[in-house]
Symmetry: C2
Subunit: 476 residues, 2 copies
Amino acid sequence: MAQDQFVKEVADMEKDFPQWYTDVILKTQMVDYGPVKGTMVIRPYAYAIWERIQEELNKRFKATGHQNAYFPMFIPESYLKKEAEHVEGFAPEVALVTHAGGAKLNENLVIRPTSETIICEMFAKWMQSYRDLPIKINQWANVCRWEKTTRPFLRTSEFLWQEGHTAHATEDEAREETILMLNVYKEFAENVLAMPVFTGRKTDKEKFAGAKETYGMEAMMLDGKSLQAGTSHYLGQNFAHAFGMKFLDKDGTQKYAYSSSWGVSTRLIGALIMAHGDERGLVLPPVVAPVQAVIVPIAAHKGGVNEKAAELLAALTAAGIRAECDTRDMSPGWKFNEWEMKGVPVRIEVGPRDIEQGQAVLFRRDTLEKETIALCDLTARVCELMGVIQANMLEKSRNFRDSRVKTVTSVEEMLTALDGKNFTKAAWCGDRACEEAIKEKTAATSRVMTDDELVSDVCVCCGKKAKTNVLFARAY
Amino acid sequence: MAQDQFVKEVADMEKDFPQWYTDVILKTQMVDYGPVKGTMVIRPYAYAIWERIQEELNKRFKATGHQNAYFPMFIPESYLKKEAEHVEGFAPEVALVTHAGGAKLNENLVIRPTSETIICEMFAKWMQSYRDLPIKINQWANVCRWEKTTRPFLRTSEFLWQEGHTAHATEDEAREETILMLNVYKEFAENVLAMPVFTGRKTDKEKFAGAKETYGMEAMMLDGKSLQAGTSHYLGQNFAHAFGMKFLDKDGTQKYAYSSSWGVSTRLIGALIMAHGDERGLVLPPVVAPVQAVIVPIAAHKGGVNEKAAELLAALTAAGIRAECDTRDMSPGWKFNEWEMKGVPVRIEVGPRDIEQGQAVLFRRDTLEKETIALCDLTARVCELMGVIQANMLEKSRNFRDSRVKTVTSVEEMLTALDGKNFTKAAWCGDRACEEAIKEKTAATSRVMTDDELVSDVCVCCGKKAKTNVLFARAY
């Protein structure tokens, strides 16, 4: 059976999740390995998802008063060194341009691992008075972080992302922006990617190099590991001091600005795959699916089938559905497998008998359920299903996640819970040494601090007075 | 007078066109210089134009069967050397990454100056049989070409572009694609940028390094110089041989594929500025203008003015116009100047007396004409004006251009015509030595060959038998 053949093609996700991931991304032609180690080619099927992500985020960025721009990828090496923590964090991973135009450069150029330095340098030029503030800019760009261990979408030497950078006259405003964008990300993750996330402040150990505070959103993958899906940083005046971001305030004095930065990347595509997939391959939420509905004609050689399929395609397209009709010279079973592997939310099967009876069969990728629908109701039902499937996927993910967060009060309990593919919530004293000891013993890291009632009065690790709850999980 | 003040701010375009260009792009906040020599920051006002260009081109690329993807920016240095002409053309301008992740690399990496090499390497992996062809892909990316003399948008070390790359089973198909995309560019330049272009084949001297044939589109700037606004290359089997792009054809034999590539860049923004601007600054075609209509309230402190302005803004926005209402605490005159400098197609002035009389004043940036319009007709009139202005700008540009193409039959005549800010059309023998002699004497280069009737039986330079007409012009 064709289905069995396909099942054999991808690894068992329960037994070998990493191999399942690799099989799925390669076989669905989402990605290929680039010739340089650690690089990836984003093929059309994945790039179309990225374009949907861009479109949805651009809407939200614009609605919150941001404008897109583009800054150079070449950063003078000296810039990186102006903010002490920043250089310490990024210097080990940068790629250096030493020669250009046939000559050695006077100063090496860093290919941006992130753009705080060059953007703050420009902001400093652009702000004279408080009237020039706030500056709220976003850029879509490629960035480079040279990593030892790489995996497509999750960690690559070059990746695509957006980075928002803002400058404000006051601390309050900059802090507000940081939290606003964290919440934009959260709403986006839930409503566009159907992926519930935990948000919260990161511990100092896990914060962005150069930030005062980092806030993150963490999503649970199907193997119980956490994936950092986005971050928003309150930078205080750190970069303002380093780059001279000063302005003349209303009171006639020169002040340093406060800044924020926030970003999400092509990592989100990896998150999407690992949050929703199943043994048949991808399961894509309708909002980002490049193809939302695919029509597979059955016994297409019989009179009228292809004509009817084309008619249905036209009606779906006119209704705003991203639809395709698969007229390739392959068996329906082969096509079913391929489109299931590609995660298309709805499949429409239509053959001579269906047409005779004025109906078609709909197959839902998220539930694997079939239903029969009158042809006259088909377009309306497919439109309706887009919302139904999107909502169901979010609910399913939320239930999965909520069932896998365990409150623990000892490191042993934590270890057991982690081995059972769970996140763990524990009370923590605030001491970095405890974080490090936990990582050492369990391979879990602190993901975010949560504001809720303490699960214990004492730290899960050292037994001293606890200050906050922390989600600990193994992470990508 | 405020207008006079502004006029003093930008150089006289008749006397110093390059300075006028620099003044305009900086004062309208389209661009700023990056910290690394030859780089530019594309600020929101220009980036918004680029987004409109992307949107319009994406529509056309998709309609002609292309898909977007993304390939790594790092190309192993050895790849560049696989196609002899290609490396000769690009090696002098590349930037090299020699160190990454704290260590010297085993092989230097070139930052893509263009991506034929890496894309053909991937295409070779993806094509097994004729069923896998054609492959028709586009990418939006940054590229790097280290140039000695740079100017924002026109020539920068890093710029943004799109590059289409296709592979086909037959020569005919690849040639067809090359011409198809040249025509897509031409239609786009005319209908979106309101910029008429000459298209045609480039001489061997001017063709892309590694191409069999290059086709270009050339636009006339207001100083009579030509700007190469886009190119489409027929690559034959050059890259197929270099990268092993082979497939099993229907007849059971292995064959090399035929490929094409084509691109336009942020240069188009420079073209737009220099094709349409005037002594007051930018003049933007409505299709790409970030702001299509701006409302300037007059005597805004008087009751009802701001309310009426907000109402008009809402109506314009609802009608799909990209509109803004300028409520800043500045004089109307100051605002008029600023928005004129920014090239906004329509300005709407509304004050207490206008409101009393149920009317507003419209100002057209392209003709500098004012008209009075009843408030109830305003939205409809602005919508109509978008089309009227777009068409008028194209016609004006076409008339300007057509009046400045001179047929010449001697190099002396050519020199006179060029000095008078014209393009010249001349008959040419096909000999590269004549092209070089002409360049030496006139500083003009061959732009494209034209298919029309020979303007002379003999070559404008050497007097030998002519083979084709060529447009010669001084160029950016």
